[in-house]
C-alpha cells in the first residue's frame, strides 16, 4: 500500500538540522500503524511527508503503486483528494458551512458522483459517527468533540485508501477521546489503512503496529 525508502528531511530554520534520518517504512493494506515518539522526534514530520503535503525531502514514497515523490503539486492535490483522508488535532472545519456541507466538499471537489449521491454518502458517513442529527448545523456552533467527529466523517467521504491522522485525540476531553478512540478502532476493524501520529499510549495500543521514532530514526 505505502512504501517509503531512505527518507531524509532537513529543517533550515533557525539552523540546518536533520529531522528524519534515512527512514524506510512499509504499510500494508488494512494495517493500522501508530507513529509514536517524544515531542521533536520527527513523527509528525514523517506523517506530513507520507501524506504528500510536504514535498521537500530526500528519498522516495510510493502509495498504491504511484511514485508520489515525482508528482507535480496539482497532481498531488488531486491524489490527496481521491486517496487520502485527513484528521488533524484541530478539526479545521470551515466555520461558515454546515456539518453536511463540510463533509460534502471533498466529494464535490472530486466530482465522482452527482450532488444528490454525494449528499446521501455524506449523510451516511455522518451516521457512522453518530452525527447525522447535526447535519444541518453550522460547523462553528458545534462542540469540540462533535466537530472532530464531523472532521472524521469528512476524511472518509471519498472512501480513501489511506487515513492519515495527526494526534486526532490531542485536543479532546477524556469522554470525547474515548469516542474518537472507538471510531478509529472500528475503522481499523473494517479494513481501513490508517497511519496515526499519537503520543497517547492507550490509543497506540489499538494499532496493529507501533512505529516509534527517536531523534529522527525508527527504533
Amino acid at each position: 500500500m505505502l512504501t517509503a525508502e531512505h527518507l531524509n528531511k532537513y529543517f533550515y530554520e533557525p539552523e540546518k538540522f536533520q529531522v528524519l534520518k534515512d527512514i524506510s517504512l512499509r504499510v500494508e493494506k488494512g494495517e493500522f500503524v501508530a507513529l509514536t515518539g517524544k515531542s521533536g522526534s520527527g513523527k509528525s514530520t514523517l506523517l506530513y511527508l507520507l501524506s504528500t503535503l510536504d514535498t521537500d525531502y530526500e528519498g522516495s514514497i510510493r502509495i498504491h503503486d504511484a511514485l508520489v515523490t515525482q508528482m507535480s503539486q496539482n497532481a498531488l492535490a488531486h491524489f490527496r483528494n481521491e486517496y487520502i483522508g485527513f484528521v488533524f488535532q484541530f478539526h479545521f472545519l470551515l466555520p461558515e458551512f454546515t456539518a453536511l456541507e463540510n463533509v460534502m466538499l471533498p466529494a464535490l471537489k472530486l466530482g465522482k458522483y452527482n450532488r444528490k449521491d454525494i449528499e446521501q454518502r455524506a449523510l451516511g458517513k455522518l451516521g457512522l459517527m453518530g452525527m447525522d442529527g447535526y447535519a444541518h448545523k453550522q460547523a462553528a456552533k458545534l462542540s469540540g468533540g462533535q466537530q472532530q467527529r464531523i472532521a472524521i466523517a469528512r476524511a472518509l467521504v471519498n472512501d480513501p485508501l489511506l487515513i492519515m491522522a495527526d494526534e486526532p485525540t490531542g485536543n479532546l476531553d477524556s469522554a470525547n477521546t474515548q469516542i474518537v478512540f472507538d471510531i478509529f478502532r472500528d475503522l481499523a476493524r473494517k479494513g481501513n489503512t490508517i497511519i496515526a501520529v499519537t503520543h497517547d499510549t492507550d490509543f497506540a495500543a489499538n494499532a496493529d503496529r507501533i512505529v516509534e521514532l527517536v531523534d529522527g530514526k525508527i527504533v
Binding site: 503535503l53 483528494n81 488535532q89 484541530f90 470551515l94 466555520p95 461558515e96
Partner: protein, 420 residues
C-alpha cells in the same frame, strides 16, 4: 465541477460577511457612479461648447489676412550695393484692400467639392446702430441669406420673422436678440446705421435671431450683401470672407491646408480658430479621468484590504482545503471570484447610480443669471460607450486589486498551519 464548488465556497464566504462585502462594493459603486456622472457631464459641456461655437464659427473660413510686414522699402532698392544701412521707423502702410478678388472662381470651385455642403460669401463691417438717442457699437454682415442660413441653421434660431424675409426687401435687416432688446426694436421698426467712415443708411427690421451666445446676439445683424457693398461704397464683387460648411466638420482641419494652397488666401478651420475650446475639451477629459481613476484606485485599495483581511482570517480554511485536494488554481479562483463579484455588482450598481445622477443633473436648471450663454439645464450626454467603459473599468480595478491577495492565499503552505 471544480469551478462550481469553488464558486459556492466563494459565495458562502461573501454571504458570511455581508457588511464587509457591501462596504467594498459601495466603494466601487461610488467610484463608477462618479466616473459615469463626470464623463457624461464633461462630454456634455464639450458638446455644448462645440455646438455653440459651431453655431457662430464656420467649419472653414477663407479670408484675406492683412500683412503686417512693412520692412521692405524702396530706399533699400535705391542704395543696393552701397555701404549704406537702411533703417525704417514707423512705416505706414498704404491703403490696403482686404477683399477676395477672384471670389466667383473660388466659390464655384468650392461648390464642386463633394465635401462641401454650403458656401457663403460675406462682407462685414463695423457700424454704430442709431435708434433715437441710443447709439450702439456693433457690426453687420452682408450675406446671401439663403447660403448663410444653411451654414448656421438660422431658420431654427429666429425668434421672429424668417431668414427669407430679408430677400423681400432691399434694406431689410435680421438683428441679434440682445441687440434688438437694447435698442428696444420690433420687426418693421427702422434703424439708422453709421459706418466708421461716416456713411449712414436706414434699415428696416424684418426678423430677430438668437444664436445663444450674447457676445454675438448683442452686436451682430444680417443684411443683404449688396446693402453692405453700397454702404461701404464698394462694387458688387467686393467681399472679404468666404465661409464654408462641410458635410463632416471633422474633415475641416485636413482640408484647410489644401484650400489655402489652391486659393492663396488665408484658410482657417474651426478647430484652429477655436484652439482654446479644443484645449479646454482636452483639459476636461484629462480631469475626468484623473478624478475617476483616483476614486477607483481608492476603491481598489478597499477591496485589496478586505480581501487581505479575509485571507488572514481564513488561513486554516485554506490549509485544510489544500490538504483535501484543492489545488493552487482552486484557491486563487475562490478568492479572486469574491473580488470579481464585488467588482461586477459594484460596477453594475455604479453605472445605475451614475445614470440616475446624470439624469438628475440633466434636469437641474442652469442658474438663470447667465448673460454669456443660453442654457436651460446642465448639459449632460448619455452615451452607452461611457457606461460600458465604466463597467470594464470597475471590474478591471477589482481584478487587479483582488489578484494579489488571491495569489498570496494560493501560496500558503498548509503544513505550517496544520501542524499548529
Amino acid at each position: 465541477m471544480s469551478l462550481a464548488v469553488n464558486l459556492s465556497i466563494a459565495k458562502t464566504h461573501l454571504l458570511s460577511r455581508k457588511k464587509q462585502t457591501l462596504v467594498a462594493m459601495l466603494g466601487v459603486t461610488f467610484g463608477i457612479a462618479m466616473f459615469t456622472l463626470m464623463i457624461s457631464f464633461m462630454q456634455g459641456v464639450n458638446q455644448f461648447l462645440e455646438d455653440t461655437m459651431l453655431s457662430s464659427t464656420p467649419d472653414i473660413h477663407i479670408y484675406n489676412d492683412v500683412k503686417t510686414d512693412y520692412s521692405a522699402s524702396v530706399a533699400a532698392q535705391y542704395f543696393k550695393g552701397e555701404k549704406v544701412k537702411v533703417a525704417l521707423h514707423h512705416p505706414k502702410p498704404k491703403e490696403i484692400q482686404i477683399n477676395i478678388r477672384n471670389k466667383d472662381a473660388i466659390i464655384s470651385d468650392l461648390k464642386k467639392n463633394p465635401a462641401v455642403l454650403a458656401v457663403s460669401p460675406l462682407l462685414s463691417t463695423q457700424v454704430f446702430y442709431n435708434y433715437g438717442p441710443v447709439q450702439l457699437n456693433g457690426f453687420i454682415n452682408g450675406v446671401n441669406i439663403i447660403e448663410e442660413a444653411r451654414l448656421y441653421d438660422l431658420g431654427g434660431k429666429m425668434t421672429s420673422g424668417r431668414p427669407e424675409d430679408l430677400l423681400t426687401m432691399d434694406n431689410g435687416m435680421l438683428m441679434g436678440a440682445g441687440l434688438a432688446e437694447k435698442l428696444n426694436m420690433r420687426t418693421d421698426d427702422m434703424v439708422s446705421l453709421a459706418t466708421p467712415t461716416g456713411n449712414t443708411m436706414q434699415f428696416r427690421l424684418v426678423g430677430i435671431f438668437q444664436i445663444g451666445i450674447s457676445a454675438i446676439d448683442n452686436v451682430k445683424s444680417y443684411v443683404n450683401l449688396s446693402a453692405v457693398q453700397q454702404l461701404l461704397g464698394k462694387d458688387r464683387n467686393y467681399i472679404t470672407d468666404i465661409n464654408i460648411k462641410l458635410r463632416n466638420n471633422k474633415e475641416a482641419i485636413a482640408l484647410a491646408p489644401g484650400f489655402e494652397q489652391k486659393y492663396r488666401y488665408k484658410v482657417e478651420s474651426w478647430e484652429t480658430a477655436n484652439g482654446s475650446v479644443t484645449a479646454s475639451n482636452l483639459i476636461r477629459d484629462v480631469l475626468t479621468y484623473v478624478v475617476s481613476i483616483t476614486l477607483l484606485v481608492v476603491a481598489g485599495f478597499g477591496i485589496y484590504n478586505i480581501m487581505n483581511m479575509t485571507i488572514a482570517n481564513k488561513m486554516k480554511d485554506i490549509a485544510i482545503l489544500k490538504a483535501q485536494g484543492f489545488a493552487r488554481k482552486d484557491i486563487t479562483q475562490i478568492f479572486l471570484s469574491q473580488s470579481m463579484v464585488i467588482g461586477i455588482l459594484g460596477a453594475l450598481t455604479g453605472i445605475a447610480l451614475g445614470f440616475l445622477l446624470s439624469y438628475a443633473l440633466s434636469r437641474t436648471p442652469f442658474p438663470a443669471n447667465n448673460n454669456f450663454v443660453s442654457l436651460k439645464y446642465f448639459p449632460v450626454v448619455f452615451r452607452p460607450k461611457h457606461y460600458l467603459f465604466g463597467m470594464a473599468f470597475g471590474i478591471g480595478t477589482t481584478i487587479v486589486a483582488g489578484l494579489m491577495p488571491a495569489v498570496k492565499a494560493s501560496n500558503i503552505d498548509p503544513v505550517a498551519i496544520l501542524r499548529g
